[in-house]
């Protein structure tokens, strides 16, 4: 996906992932995008290789007494697309705040 094809919604999603929001509901809350946009967009980004997903460890979820979540993270290509999106939509950097608890695995390890 090139920066030329990045829609505003996708750019917001990528920005949210970059800032540490990692699953659908959390991204919805942070961005204010409707659920009908967020979930299909995440699937599309995953299909296009900009995002990877994996399941949270069952042990962690059990400790917090909730079902395991599916976490999304940016790939290297997704990171490039996010930077292109932020350049294209400069106000995005002001729209979203960094997540309070920064996660260690925000970006796929090179």
């Amino acid at each position: 996906m090139t920066s030329g094809k990045l829609s505003h919604s996708v750019a917001i999603l990528l920005r949210a992932l970059r800032l540490g929001y990692r699953f659908g509901f959390e991204i919805m809350e942070a961005t204010g995008l409707p659920s009908g946009t967020v979930y299909p967009a995440l699937r599309r980004l995953e299909r296009d290789g900009l995002v990877l997903s994996d399941w949270e460890a069952e042990g962690v979820a059990q400790l917090e007494q909730r079902p395991a979540r599916r976490y999304y993270r940016l790939t290297a290509e997704g990171l490039e697309a996010e930077e292109a999106g932020t350049k294209r939509y400069p106000l995005l950097s002001r729209l979203l705040e960094e997540k309070a608890t920064t996660n260690a695995k925000l970006v796929e390890a090179p």
Binding site: P34, S35, G36, V38, R43, R47, Q65, R66, P67, R70
Partner: protein, 324 residues
């Protein structure tokens, strides 16, 4: 905590119902993810403003629909590439759809197009259809199929013979429709550019299209596996023509799924005037195991070429694996 205990009855019912839209390979994963998402909303109801249950259910529906469409698109592409019965019908329907689009462009409006189609059907196609079908049937080189095996895979809902005839009937029907629509396009175009003789062009093009397309449909059936209805491949010459009196010679085609071989004799005599379908028993399956894919992105050694975006879906659906 078990995921099944985390959602209410309505959500559980929706998860079950919408899950059927999602391709089977991804269904459980999808349900598991959505159980977690729904739990999240139940836990955060007080603090979340504007994200009601309905909103999330809409997201769930959109997500399932997107995955369903992706699955359908993948299946269509995969069917066409495998040259399966479904793929064949999809191609014919796509051709019919293209003809309708062309017709609409030429006619300018639905009303004019409808009139042109009715005129073409009543004024030409109706008279050509019966003799055309007769000519196609009597000139097609149809030979009875002789099968060496009597078991013919009866484990499916419909027996192989019924599926064979059903597919043939549907294919011929769709082919006739495609021929009708295609010839209507030619008729409309001819009327637009020709002052005289458009009727003759319409008659000739309709006859030709109908006869050739039905002949194609019948001959296409001759080259299909009798079990899975996919096109047979890898034609191989067997025997020598100069020894025709001593031994069989002709062409052998094989089903890529390993269901059987079709022997097409080179010279039809009174002792061998049919094609022989030799069904392969399960001991042959070892030769037809899923192949390991090698090479760069998008290129599979098995001969299929996939766009990069489809490769993951292809591998997921077929159970093949990529070797580094």
């Amino acid at each position: 905590m078990r995921a099944g205990e985390t959602v209410g009855n309505v959500e559980a019912w929706l998860l079950r119902g919408l899950g059927w839209v999602v391709p089977a390979a991804r269904r459980e994963d999808w349900r598991r993810e959505w159980r977690a998402e729904l739990w999240q909303m139940r836990g955060a109801t007080d603090s979340v403003q504007g994200f009601g249950k309905l909103s999330l259910i809409w997201g769930m529906t959109a997500d399932a629909a997107w995955l369903g469409m992706e699955g359908l698109r993948g299946w269509l592409l995969w069917s066409v590439r495998r040259r399966s019965a479904g793929g064949c019908l999809v191609e014919l329907l796509a051709l019919s759809g293209l003809s309708v689009c062309l017709e609409w462009v030429l006619a300018g409006s639905w009303r004019v197009m409808e009139g042109a189609l009715v005129r073409h059907f009543l004024g030409c196609f109706l008279f050509v259809a019966l003799p055309g079908l007769f000519v196609a049937l009597v000139t097609a080189a149809l030979r009875p199929r002789k099968c060496q095996s009597k078991r013919m895979h009866v484990h499916r809902v419909l027996s192989a013979g019924v599926r064979w005839r059903l597919f043939l009937g549907v294919k011929v029907g769709v082919t006739v429709v495609a021929a009708f629509l295609g010839s209507a396009v030619v008729a409309v175009a001819a009327r637009r550019v020709m002052v005289f003789g458009a009727d003759w062009v319409e008659l000739l093009s309709t006859s030709l299209m109908l006869i050739l397309s039905v002949k194609w449909a019948l001959e296409n059936q001759e080259r299909r596996c009798q079990h899975c209805l996919r096109m047979l491949s890898q034609p191989t010459r067997v025997g020598m023509a100069s020894r025709n009196f001593l031994e069989w010679n002709g062409t052998e085609l094989i089903c890529a799924e390993g269901h059987g071989l079709l022997h097409v004799t080179e010279m039809h005599g009174s002792w061998c005037w049919y094609d022989v379908w030799v069904e392969l028993d399960p001991t042959w399956q070892g030769l037809f195991r899923p192949q390991v894919l090698r090479g760069g992105s998008g290129v599979a050694q098995s001969g299929f070429f996939l766009l990069p975006g489809w490769e993951a879906e292809f591998l997921r659906q077929t159970g093949l694996r990529r070797q580094a």
